[in-house]
């Protein structure tokens, strides 16, 4: 398969590119709205001119862009600059027909592929500028807009509504299982594809007004680096000098929801570390759901604790998961031999 073809079909790259440009908007919007509730209560924003009012307006403004930007940059991943404008419109239309996050993804892909093939149409050189400034923006925007309004929008909106309902009606037990799975996925590959899948699901849920999954995901992602740092401090004989040095930074990474902080520990001893952190993160995620913790912000770790619903219980979930992982790691990891202890090489990248 040609590299151009491969690139076209790399849906994961297109999705993640869209998500990547969307994240700052969700962060700003989610946190500002949560702050509005924090300073003014759930109705504080109704007082015109109050801080809560401004926070809500600005936060709401940020959130209003998330689906259009998602779609725009999915299209950008496929078709470069020319995909952005039709992608923006596709996302905007997707919101208008209530097809939300999913509609944005479909719209962005459509816009991207359409522009990609429109660019390939051969025209005499004199007409080329016209293609770029007039034909491509006009045709792609119109076609994608019509496709969503008349054909795809309805069905996708129905799917989104069904998913909403499914989540709202999920029994307590199933929610806890979901929390465990989401937490486990974070610990499994720490920033890798499995982690990103869970995280994108969390973002989609935020966009749809479901705030519990993201809380479970975040607490699950905080556990591995914190737990491994603690284990390294308590039982240094089980960790190489490089790992012990890394532990000094890793705990803060964990508190900041940078799950990648656990990668050096996992790379050094995957057989013992990964199952231990998967179990601990699953526990944390499950407890987060069980306690009913919810979070509107897609990142921030401990620094957005004031914005978490049921913050004290959230800390309990975090502590419990961390304890489980730390204890498991200490129990199953073997003490290093003399030679291994002398090895000053960096754990990351060494297999």
């Amino acid at each position: 398969m040609s590299s151009e073809r491969k690139n076209l079909l790399d849906i994961r790259k297109h999705l993640l590119t869209g998500v990547s440009y969307m994240i700052p908007l969700v962060v700003a919007g989610g946190i500002l709205i949560a702050l509005s509730f924090l300073v003014g209560g759930y109705k504080g924003f109704e007082v015109a001119g109050s801080p809560a009012d401004y926070l809500m307006k600005i936060g709401g403004g940020a959130l209003s862009f998330i689906v259009p930007i998602l779609a725009a940059f999915i299209a950008y991943s496929i078709a470069d600059r020319a995909g952005i404008a039709p992608g923006l419109v596709a996302g905007s239309v997707a919101v208008a027909v209530n097809s939300g996050f999913l509609g944005g993804i479909v719209g962005g892909l459509l816009a991207g592929y359409l522009v990609f093939y429109l660019k390939k149409i051969k025209v005499p050189n004199v007409l080329k500028p016209l293609m770029g400034i007039l034909v491509i923006p006009l045709v792609s925007t119109l076609v994608v807009g019509l496709l969503i309004y008349l054909v795809l929008g309805g069905p996708i909106a129905a799917v989104m509504a069904a998913m909403q309902k499914w989540l709202e009606n999920m029994g307590q037990v199933n929610l806890i299982v979901l929390g465990a799975i989401l937490g486990a996925m974070q610990a499994f590959d720490m920033g890798g594809p499995v982690d990103k899948t869970a995280y994108t699901f969390g973002l989609a849920m935020l966009a749809a007004g479901q705030y519990m999954p993201m809380a479970a995901i975040m607490v699950g992602g905080m556990v591995p680096p914190i737990a491994l740092s603690i284990a390294a401090k308590l039982r240094p004989a089980k960790f190489s000098p490089a790992e012990r040095k890394h532990a000094d930074a890793a705990w803060l990474m964990g508190l900041s929801f940078i799950t990648e902080g656990a990668i050096p520990f996992a790379s050094a001893d995957p057989l013992h570390v990964i199952p231990s952190q998967v179990i601990g993160s699953a526990v944390a995620g499950a407890l987060s759901m069980a306690f009913g913790c919810a979070l509107r912000a897609p990142h921030g770790g401990i620094f957005v604790l004031p914005l978490v619903e049921k913050p004290v219980l959230y800390l309990v979930a975090l502590a419990a998961g961390t304890a489980v992982t730390a204890i498991l790691v200490i129990l199953v990891k073997k003490d290093l031999t003399e030679n291994q202890l002398k090895d000053k090489s960096i754990a990351v990248g060494e297999e």
């Binding site: 950008y76 940078i258 990248g349």
Partner: protein, 106 residues
Amino acid sequence: MKIVIVSACSTGIASTYMASEALELAGKKRGHQILAETQGTLGIENEVSESDAQDADVIILARDIKIQGMDRFQGKEILEIGVAEAIRKAEEVIRQAEELVIKKSS
């Protein structure tokens, strides 16, 4: 060998830089000259110029998302890998890049 590395992950805060460092370290260990550019959430850091890009023997793209400025690499041998792979298997990736260069020149 002259190797240009560009890394870009989706959150753009940690993995991007970890991948870049891992590959740079592994590359330098093998005696290569490394230019490492990161495309994180704040934008492009240590941007590799077009002339440096064209000068290189091979380009390694450690990426989960679209890389900006692909025009610079026109006509070059490019190795594309995921960010996670770059972090965990940096040495193997460098070796793959070496093989690409050897295959091209033979």
